[in-house]
Symmetry: none
Subunit: 542 residues, 2 copies
Amino acid sequence: MAERLYLYDTTLRDGQQTQGVQFSTGEKKQIAQALDDLGVDYIEGGWPGANPTDSAFFDEAPQTRAQITAFGMTKRAGRSAENDDVLAAVMNAGTGAVCLVGKSHDYHVTAALGISLAENLDNIAQSVAHVVAQGREALFDAEHFFDGYKANPAYALAACRAALDAGARWVVLCDTNGGTLPGEVAAIVTEVIAAGLPGDHLGIHTHNDTENAVACSLAAVDAGVRQVQGTLNGLGERCGNANLTTLVPTLLLKEPYASQYETGVPRSALARLTKVSRMLDEILNRVPQKQAPYVGASAFAHKAGLHASAILKDPSTYEHIEPSVVGNARIIPMSNQAGQSNLRRRLAEAGLVVEKGDPALGQILERVKEREAEGYSYDTAQASFELLARAALGKMPEFFEVKRYKVTVERRKNKYNKMVSLSEAVVVVKVDGEKLLSVSESLDETGGDRGPVNALARALSKDLGRYSQVLDDMRLVDFKVRITQGGTEAVTRVIIDSEDGKGRRWSTVGVSANIIDASFDALTDAMNWKLLRDGAGVADAV
Amino acid sequence: MAERLYLYDTTLRDGQQTQGVQFSTGEKKQIAQALDDLGVDYIEGGWPGANPTDSAFFDEAPQTRAQITAFGMTKRAGRSAENDDVLAAVMNAGTGAVCLVGKSHDYHVTAALGISLAENLDNIAQSVAHVVAQGREALFDAEHFFDGYKANPAYALAACRAALDAGARWVVLCDTNGGTLPGEVAAIVTEVIAAGLPGDHLGIHTHNDTENAVACSLAAVDAGVRQVQGTLNGLGERCGNANLTTLVPTLLLKEPYASQYETGVPRSALARLTKVSRMLDEILNRVPQKQAPYVGASAFAHKAGLHASAILKDPSTYEHIEPSVVGNARIIPMSNQAGQSNLRRRLAEAGLVVEKGDPALGQILERVKEREAEGYSYDTAQASFELLARAALGKMPEFFEVKRYKVTVERRKNKYNKMVSLSEAVVVVKVDGEKLLSVSESLDETGGDRGPVNALARALSKDLGRYSQVLDDMRLVDFKVRITQGGTEAVTRVIIDSEDGKGRRWSTVGVSANIIDASFDALTDAMNWKLLRDGAGVADAV
C-alpha cells in the first residue's frame, strides 16, 4: 500500500522573500487557485498582520480543497499566548491551519531572542496549545533545526517534542540557512525518528544555498518524513526554497517514490505543470528559466548531433521522461552541428513533411549554415527557421512586401524645457498589389516614449490591409540583442519573442550591423509566422 | 591524510550544448584561462574536427597547468582505430589527454549504433589502446552508464572494464539523460566498486534534469569516485550539467568533503569564484541568475525582517558561509552599513578618497539605489559609476552639453534596385558657450551601413571643438543590450565598452525604453570618462 505524502506550498510566504518579489492580493489569489487545481495539501498564504497584502489575502482567500494556512511565530516570552498581539493577528485570519515558526537551535534562543532555553520551550508549547484549543490544525516550523541538532541534539529534539506534545499535527524540520547537505539530512532525520519522533508527523523545509534543496527533501522522505515543503519555481529567501515544480513530478514519476507514496496531486494534473510555472513567471514579469528541470523551454531540447539522431529513432534514448507528461515539448534546435535527420524532425514539427534524401534538405541545411556564418542563430528562433525552410521548399506565401521604411529618433527639449525623446516610423508596404503607407509614433498611453522598434512594430501592423486584424492580438514580449560576428564584421543579432491571444509564443531572429534593421527583420518574420499560423489566405498560399 | 579529488570542467564542450550558446575561439581561450587560474585539473576544450571553432581552439590553446582535453567518440565498427577519420581529427589536436565517449547501455549499442555488443566492447578497447599507444592520457565517458547498469549491469561493467584494461586513466560514469536520483547513484556506484572497479579511476558526470546534478555528484564521491565533471554556472545540454560553481565551494568548504579531500583549487582561489561566474554570463550576454548558490547577487540577501536584524548581531545566524570567501557580498536591504565600506573602496579605486562618515557616501548610495531601480547596473559599468560619484561629490566638470540630437534610419531600394540601409545623425552640443552642429552618416570605408549608434558616435565626437582631438583615438569595441525592469516598465539597458590608443578599456551604461536613447547616454558617458582621464582642461575642472 502506498503511504500518503503531504505537499505544503509556501510560494505565497517564503516565496515572497525572494529579492524583488512582492505579490499583490489578486496575484496571491490567482496562485493559490493554481496550486489548489494542482492538488497540493497546504497553501501557506502569508503572515497575517505583517503586511496589508497578506492580511487582505486571508480576508478574500479563495475556496479551496487545500488547507489555506496562516503563518506566524510562537508567542513572545513574558505574556500568555492569548495576550500576544502578533499571534492574535495570525489567529484572526481564521484559517483552518496555522503554522508557527519557533527556535530549535539553542544559540538562537539565547543570542537572538535573549531568553532562557526553558522559556523558549514553554513559548512553543503554549502557542501550539493555543492554536489547538481554538480548533485549528497546528504546525510548528522548527527553525534552524539541522544546525541546532548538530550543536545540541537534545535541545533540538526537546523543541520538537514540546510542539508535538502540545498537539501539533506537524513538526517541520527546517534547514533555514540552507547549508545542510543531503547526507547530513538523511543521517539526522534517521536519528530523530530513532529517538521517537513520529515520521508521519514530520515535515521537511529546505533552502537551495548549495543547490541541494530538492535532494535534501528527497533524503528526508527516504529517512521517513511525510510532509514536504517548497515553492513554485523554487522562489524563496536568498537562493530559494525546495522547488515544488521539480519535486512534484519527481515524486509522482520516479522510483522508488512513484510506487511507494501517494500525494494529493493526481498524475493527470502534471500536464498543467509547465503552464503553472510559466504563469508564475508571467505574474512576476520574469523571463522563464530555459534550463529549469521538467518545465524549462530547454528541458527537452536536444542540441548535440549524436543525441538528435538517436532521439529520432527512440526518444527514450536521451530523455528521462516523456515531455508531454509535464505539459512540456521536445525541441530539436537547428544548428550547424545537427544533421539531416534532426532537420526532418524539426520540419515535421512545423507540419512540413519532407522525404528522407529530398535534395531540399541539403539546400535548407546549406542556407542555415550560410546564415549562421552571417550571425543568425536558429537555436531558439524556431519561427524564423520555419520561414526559411518554407521559402526553400516553395511553401512560403508572400503576405506583404516591404518597399521601404524610415524611422526617426529625436531627443530635444520640450516647451517645459525638459528633455524628451520621440520616435516616428513610416513604413511603405505592398499588399495584394496595393501600396500602403503607414506612420506611427512611439508614445504609449501615458505619453512615455517606447522607442523606435516599438514605433516600427506599430506602423507595420496597423496598416497591412486585411492582415492587420489577424495581427491584432499579437504582442512583443521579449527583445534580446547581442553583438556577434557576421563574417569578418561585428553585427547585431536581435531575437524577438512574440505572443498572441491564443497563447502561442514564438521567436524570430534578425541580423544586421544596424540594430534597427535587425529588429525590423525579426519583426517582419514574427508577423509572417503569425499570418501563416492563422491561415491568412493569399492567392498563392500553399 | 586527505585524498585527492580531481575536477574536470566541460564548460567548453558539454556547456556549449546549452541552447543558444556558441562560444567563439577567443571566448573559449578566455574561459580556459579563468578555469586554469581557478585550479581545475582538466579542461575539456571541445570536439576537434566537429566544427571550426573547436578545431581553432586546440590550435591556439593557451598554456595551462590544467590538462587541456580533446573530446571525441570511440572508433566506429568495421575499421581500425588508426583508420577512423573522426578519431584521427581528435588525436590530431595534439592534447595530452583525450576523452572518448562510448556506449555502456546494451540497448543503445544495438538500437542506436546497430552493432553487436561484442563489437562495441572491441571499439572501446581499441580506441582507448590507440590513445594510450600515442602516449596520451585516456579517459572513457561511459554514456548512459546508470540507465545501462539498471538494464544490464554485467554489460555496463564490461564496457568500463574494456576501457580500464586498455589503459584508461579514468572511466567516467555518465548519467547522460539526467534522470537518475542521488539514492540510485549512491547504490550503483557502491555496487560498481564492490564489483572491482577502482574508485580512484572512476569519475562522475551528471545532468540536472531533476535538479539533482550536484547531489548525484556528491553521492558518487561519497560512494568512492575520485573525479567530478561539471561546468561553470551549470551550463549544458537540456537542463545543464553539474554546476562546478556550486560543487567547488561545497567540496572545499563543507564537511565531510573539506577534511576528507584535496583538490587542485586552493581555498584562496574561491575568492574569485563570483567574478568567474559573472565573466561567463558577460560573455554569453546573459543576466546573471540572482538566486545562484554562492555566487548569485541574492545568495546572501536577507530580506526577511527577522533575519536581517539577527544578521546584524551575528551573520552566522542566517548564513551558511561567509560571503566574501567566494567573492560575494551580503545584502541587507534595510541597512547601508555594509554598503558604505564597499563604496569607499570602489571610490578609492577611481582615485576618489572620501572619509568614513562623509554624508556624500549616503547620497551616492542613495543615487545608485535609485538608478538601479530604474534599470541601471554599475556592476560592470565602472566608468559610469565613477561619473555618478564625481557628480555627487561636485567633482565632475561639464565638458559639453547636448542640446538635442536626431537620428534617421532608412531602408529603401537604391538605383540598382537593391535594398540598402542608411543612418544619419545630427547632434547639437554646446561647448564653452558655443553652439556646435554636427552631422554624420553610418557608412564605413567600404560603403557598408554601420547603423544609427555608430552614426551618433561619429557625429558626437567629430565636432566637439577642442575635445574632438582628445577623442580621436577612442573606439567602441563592444555593445551589449539587455531588456530589464525599470520601475514597472521594461527598459533597454545598453553597456558600451570603449578602448583608446593608450590601451585603456572602460564600460559605460545607459538605460531607456528607447534603445537609441540608452545607447546615446552610454556613449556620452564613455566620452566624458575619456575626457576626464586625458585631463581635458575646462575652466571649472577640479
